[in-house]
Assembly symmetry: C2
Homo-oligomer: 345 residues x 2
């Protein structure tokens, strides 16, 4: 944290907005008019516009005890643009509204915006608008992300077909274990403030929680490989919940294989340390921000060239339900909580 | 208030979204894909996209003691689309994110959404997305409004020219007096809960506060009369503050005439009752959601045909400053607080 403390109120609303946005340089031709008027103007020049929004509330979605403000700013952008990529689209702009309690200094807010701008730079996004307000309690972040996609090239959740391969990007379950770890350290800290947290060996899972990335590379891979997923969404609430969304909205079933679910070695080790099942963490833990998608079988040869993609199962007739085959060969129903071990088939 | 109480938690997040959005029928061809996926898809078919966002926080922006939830839902939409009209654009979609504390029942939320949908119906807007979350304290509303405008027909704040006429729509100051009145009634109510509020004669100012409208008609009038304002913004923070925005962003001065500022008779009466100067209420009171704009003098003949438009002054060279000529013929500097009576020129 910076040592200086400047009260936000000393700048006034317009002074604050000017301070936070004065260095913006637009990166996208689609940004016709940015911050500073009643509204921003965007021209996607024949492409379609994709819009998503998320509300993040202190102590509901994040805990400032173990979340650095710069990371929070970065992540706030990532969770939104992840939804844009999940439409097979490219994010181009964001707006950001903040509710700020008076315990925040200008220096703290600058740290948050450092993270916002770092994400904007990395992903080629322009900040084009927003709103700042005081809040009576807690830090409130509302971000709207705007993207573009060639006409009708967007990919929905509801269009998976029987026989399609079910795939995901990256690896799963790490962010959940990062959360478990930091919640434990918070408890220790609150009981004994002098004990230094021991992050040894947990860098990966903590990093996945505090500084996630969005899968721009996967959407670019689809483009360069001429693959159009038949359905797609991002994995924010845990793999099993998202699989059920795709199955239910597409009105079909699926089979996935436990041993195909990608789990990083460090995630696995962290799970064992907490006496948790790594597969359960991947199925039910949230905030991975990987992509879950289905592709036609004809795209298999192209798909396997990308090490960041795992084929975890395939889509079936609706009557067959949504199933997971465990490493031991047992078949279970997938439920939103992972799977229900009490209803063995 | 409805007598039944259904806990929001009894529906779950997806059940709640489904409950709140199940009756949506899209009104705009530009709405390609609405609620139910990672993001909405919009195609303005060659027009430019206009985006604005506002964050409304309980006890900062509204007080539920005297704000019916249906009115709040309606107003939340209006304050956002007012910014779209202020760009000379047409609103087409909104997204709405809510943070809800557990004191809210499903029935209360339904009342709020009744107001949201009433505004959407009246203004021809589609609700295409959003986010719902619990909040630890208070009701949090974040709305993003999306509109369309023919390429480069949007109107900025920074483009007023010397000699242009300075105009506003409707009448000013009423919402501020509505607020003063309801704050007084709230105080009386908290001291003596049995005393019924006496709204006699205050319907106009209260209505302007609780159920404002956006000036769709003015933007349509510009279109049908072939007028393009040289600059425009909406009046949400009081006339004087907005005039200073247009002057400063356009780098010019202005003169306005106190006797040309449109103030409704009921607003005037309410002001006198509270021993306030009606002009000061118009200059410094907020939340009128009228439009402030400049037009070329050549458009004067067309402009005066619209009774809802008042010409209040004209734009001058920057060196002449920003002035108000009072009814008594004195000239003062316009300040963000109205005008400063201690610096008589």
């Amino acid at each position: 944290m910076a040592e200086d403390r400047t009260e936000i109120s000393s700048l006034g609303e317009f002074g604050l907005i000017d301070h936070l946005t004065k260095n913006i340089e637009h990166k996208n031709a689609s940004t016709v008019l940015g911050v500073g008027d009643d509204a921003a103007v965007i021209d996607h020049f024949g492409k379609q516009t994709v819009i998503t929004t998320d509300l993040l509330i202190e102590n509901i979605h994040f805990d400032l005890i173990y979340t650095p403000l710069k990371h929070l700013g970065y992540k706030s952008v990532i969770v939104n643009i992840s939804d844009i990529y999940a439409m097979n689209a490219t994010p181009t702009q964001i707006t950001i509204s903040l509710g700020i309690s008076n315990r925040f200094s200008l220096e703290a807010l600058d740290e948050f915006y450092d993270g916002v701008y770092a994400a904007c730079d990395k992903y080629g996004i322009d900040l084009v608008g927003g709103d700042t307000s005081s809040s009576q309690k807690g830090f409130i972040i509302s971000i709207t992300a705007i993207g573009e996609v060639s006409p009708d090239k967007f990919v929905q959740r509801s269009t998976a077909q029987k026989g399609d391969l079910l795939c995901c990007s990256g690896d799963l379950g790490a962010a959940y274990l990062g959360l478990i770890f930091l919640e434990r350290e918070k408890k220790i800290f609150l009981e004994s403030p002098d004990v230094k947290p021991d992050l040894e060996g947990e860098e990966y899972v903590i990093g996945r929680l505090l500084k996630p990335e969005a899968r721009k590379d996967i959407v670019e891979f689809f483009e360069s490989s001429d693959i159009t997923p038949t359905s797609m969404m991002d994995i924010s609430d845990g793999l099993s919940s998202e699989i059920l969304h795709i199955c239910n909205q597409s009105k079909i079933g699926c089979v996935i294989y436990e041993d195909k679910i990608p789990i990083n070695e460090e995630t696995r080790n962290a799970a064992f340390k907490f006496e948790l099942d790594p597969t359960a963490c991947a199925l039910s833990g949230g905030e991975d921000y990987e992509l879950l998608f289905t592709v036609s079988q004809k795209d298999y040869d192209k798909l396997v060239l990308n090490e960041q993609v795992s084929v975890i199962g395939y889509m079936t007739e609706p009557e067959k339900g949504k199933k997971i085959i465990t490493k031991g060969g047992s078949e279970y129903d997938i439920t939103a909580q992972g799977w229900n071990a009490f209803t063995i088939k």
